[in-house]
Symmetry: C2
Subunit: 484 residues, 2 copies
């Protein structure tokens, strides 16, 4: 029996948060006199009212509800859906995005921190609405932190705790006070880094409005920009600052916590962090060399663009500093491949994540040893901890499932009329929560020209990817609905 009362109650809480944070766009609406304050106020009112009603209907007899796994999956999936359904109200009511499929696409692209957009003229969008757009990503990033610390481990999906030698993670099946404490600390880091990035962008001579927007969407590894050309026209200083903060946003937040606490050794001990750093540097090296052979711009720009796009794609942020599909075909293939990496578990980045690739590669190499010595026990260790076969299987199943979702979705999207490259890019970028694709949906294009049905399908993929596949897909299995 699924306790729908608890679920409704929690949806109420989420809507109260969404409604309240919607109001943060009001000052900008008034300051720029962008005429969208009514839309924001009414939308916020609807969220707060609905949220309040749902919240009041909570189970009075059960004051400390015990949320079980089954409800967990539903809460997470419905949570992102409900936020997106109500979060699109400002777009619709202000007329900034009058079409429902477009508005929903833009909103779920925000809450899933994807950053794929259907806006043709971002700079013409009212400033209040545009701030709300950035805020959806920041809220999404906040949600992901809770997901990684508190919820995924309970749901049995490789959360950051699995791969961190020393983590303030969960110790039992219930929401533990210690988890609350961890969440608060990591949120503190998230807020602090957002604040710090805003300051640095101000130093780089960005306006306060642009600085805050970019800070919100960088820390969420979202990638919504306030400029039509993303960050192409910004000064090198700003681009380098963004590189650093995208990298940080793709780092396990618990490691950042240890780093700030003055324990850098713990950061360096993490095999995921070292691999993440190595992969970023290696990909930058390869793309710099490849692009240097064909681009007629100074070396510094070749390097900066390569570094920026590598970090932007690996962390699944999706900011664009250069049209990476225009360099040479094989670099486009590499950029497409980078969309499948993802940064660290326990960060706001999406995609497969480095740790899963790491486990898979390490296990793949050990499999050769197992072939030669079939009677030997060859265990897999990460950070000195031996992984159980169940975890390894879960990681492998995740990867295989990811590939299957990718292939089947590419067939579906190509059936809707896109060519092979564009279809693959569209699926890779939405499933991986990156943002820009390749082909007709490259870094200089947007998703506005797609048929409505394709937009809904890609919206679904963003949700599936963001919630680590299992969370959404389990709802489509008979096991989930079988009462037991």
């Amino acid at each position: 029996m699924i306790n729908f009362r608890i679920i409704g109650n929690l949806m109420g809480v989420l809507l109260l948060i969404v409604g309240a944070l919607m109001l943060t766009a009001l000052p900008f609406s008034f300051y720029f006199n962008s005429g969208d304050h009514y839309a924001l106020l009414i939308s916020s009112g609807i969220c707060l009212l609905t949220g309040g009603l749902l919240w009041k209907f909570k189970d009075a007899e059960n004051t400390t509800p015990n949320i079980r796994k089954r409800e967990g999956y539903l809460i997470v999936t419905l949570g992102w859906l409900v936020m997106s359904m109500f979060g699109m109200l400002p777009y619709l009511l202000s007329g900034a995005i009058p079409d429902v499929s477009n508005a929903f696409f833009e909103t779920i692209s925000g809450f899933t921190t994807t950053g794929a957009s259907i806006l043709n003229d971002i700079e013409a969008t009212p400033k209040g609405i545009l701030f709300w757009r950035s805020m959806t990503q920041w809220i999404g990033g906040m949600g992901i932190i809770v997901l990684a610390i508190a919820i995924l481990p309970i749901l049995g999906i490789g959360g950051m705790d699995l791969f961190l030698a020393e983590s303030p993670g969960p110790t039992s099946d219930k929401l533990h006070p210690r988890i609350k404490e961890t969440a608060k600390r990591l949120w503190g880091i998230y807020v602090f880094l957002t604040f710090l990035l805003t300051l640095l962008l101000l130093v780089g001579k960005m306006s306060f409005y642009d600085a805050l927007n970019h800070a919100l969407t960088t820390m969420a590894t979202g990638g919504f920009s306030t400029q039509n050309s993303s960050v192409v026209d910004y000064a090198p200083f700003i681009q380098y600052v963004l590189v650093v903060f995208m990298f940080l946003a793709g780092t396990n937040f618990a490691l950042i916590y240890f780093g700030l606490k003055g324990e850098p050794r713990k950061v360096w001990q993490s095999e995921e962090f070292r691999t993440y750093l190595f992969v970023c540097l290696f990909a930058t090296l390869v793309i710099t060399m490849g692009a240097y052979m064909v681009r007629e711009v100074p070396f510094e720009q070749v390097f900066r663009d390569a570094l920026f796009q590598v970090i932007s794609l690996i962390t699944t942020t999706g900011f664009v500093s250069a049209d990476y599909t225009s360099w040479t075909p094989y670099l486009t293939v590499i950029c497409l491949a980078l969309m499948f990496l993802g940064a660290s578990a326990g960060s706001t980045s999406g995609g497969i994540k480095i740790i899963r690739h790491y486990v898979m590669v390490k296990n793949g190499i050990l499999e050769f040893k197992r072939l030669l010595h079939p009677r030997a026990i060859v265990p897999l260790t990460v950070n000195g901890k031996r992984l159980t076969p169940n975890i390894v299987t879960n990681v492998l199943v995740f990867l295989v499932l990811y590939i299957h979702v990718f292939v089947i979705s590419t067939i579906i999207v190509s059936f809707m009329g896109l060519d092979l490259s564009t279809s693959m890019g569209a699926v890779a970028t939405t499933l991986g929560n990156v943002g820009p694709g390749i082909g007709d949906l490259g870094p200089m294009d947007n998703f506005s020209g797609l048929p409505s049905l394709t937009k809904w399908f890609l919206s679904f993929l963003m949700l599936v990817g963001r919630l680590e596949l299992f969370t959404v897909l389990i709802l489509f299995t008979p096991y989930f609905w079988r009462s037991n």
Copy 2:
């Protein structure tokens, strides 16, 4: 310590077989007076002489050599390489293919039963040489049967025995008399079906030469044709006959044995066979429907071409009855995806194989059950047999490794100057031992225009794919060469 004496001795045996079978092309050379008999005779002489010398150098003291795992991997990989190096002599000496990289590509494409060709005018090639070309595939298919029954199981790579409830498979680590018996029986089936197909093609009014050539390359799931347009111009009867025999060649030969022995229930009990049949029918249905909407030809032809290409691609034969890349983009995507299927274990087909997909999908679905019931033991059964976690891991690692080899190879090939679709197609078709690709290497094109380096790389991929990845790749790990 690796016993190189045994390895050399076995290479000698292989060369004796190759040299002897080369002579089967002579009658055609004389009959058609195609002027290639000297090239065939000299090549055969070189093979027999080298083979004889290597064979004589066998370890006199050790009359019943005990081949160990380590030597097993080397023997299989070197075996295919040595056969290809000597098998290309007729092409070189006759001048039919004067270039070494082309000749090697064509030969390894034969022995690996891939069927990718660099010949621009197949019909102009001397008839004796062309027969040898078909014969390389048939020899390759024969080798694959031994590999599947006797060698892969010992090397720890999922052979057919793992997935067959009742199989005449190996029971110990040494080459067992029972395995010899099994190999003989399955070879008998292989020869019998080749003979039967030749007869049926003669009934279809093919010339004896063409009938025998197509029979040899069909049963090997190779796909070399004697016509420039592959089987496009043949009558529907012939195409349907080829469909049936490609399907049979993609069926586990042990099942065909049981079927012929009058035990059809054993065939039907095989979960792999049922899945194989279902996948073929389902893909045919989808492609027929899709192609019917865009092709302006009678329904029977739409259906026949769809059926033919589905069976040809799934069994990794690679015969072409229609340009499947000209129908509509999403059907091309589906055809590309079919190249990743492969037919049954224990057949002559290449690729990933249905049983691995089956294990992976079944395990993937069970993983959702495991998530909901983390303390329950949810075993995976195939044909009523419970698979050990080691086998499941091996299958998952195989798949993930396959995807990685595919992605990295696509990047390498695109770096050599091919566009994304062409690169993906070239890698998919060579790694999967299919034959034709997509893009610039589609079913109406051939591989002759590629740079030499690309041809050597694709030759390597054919070998890696044919020998089930592990066999070749293990030679590149330190574990293999570490004396222990």
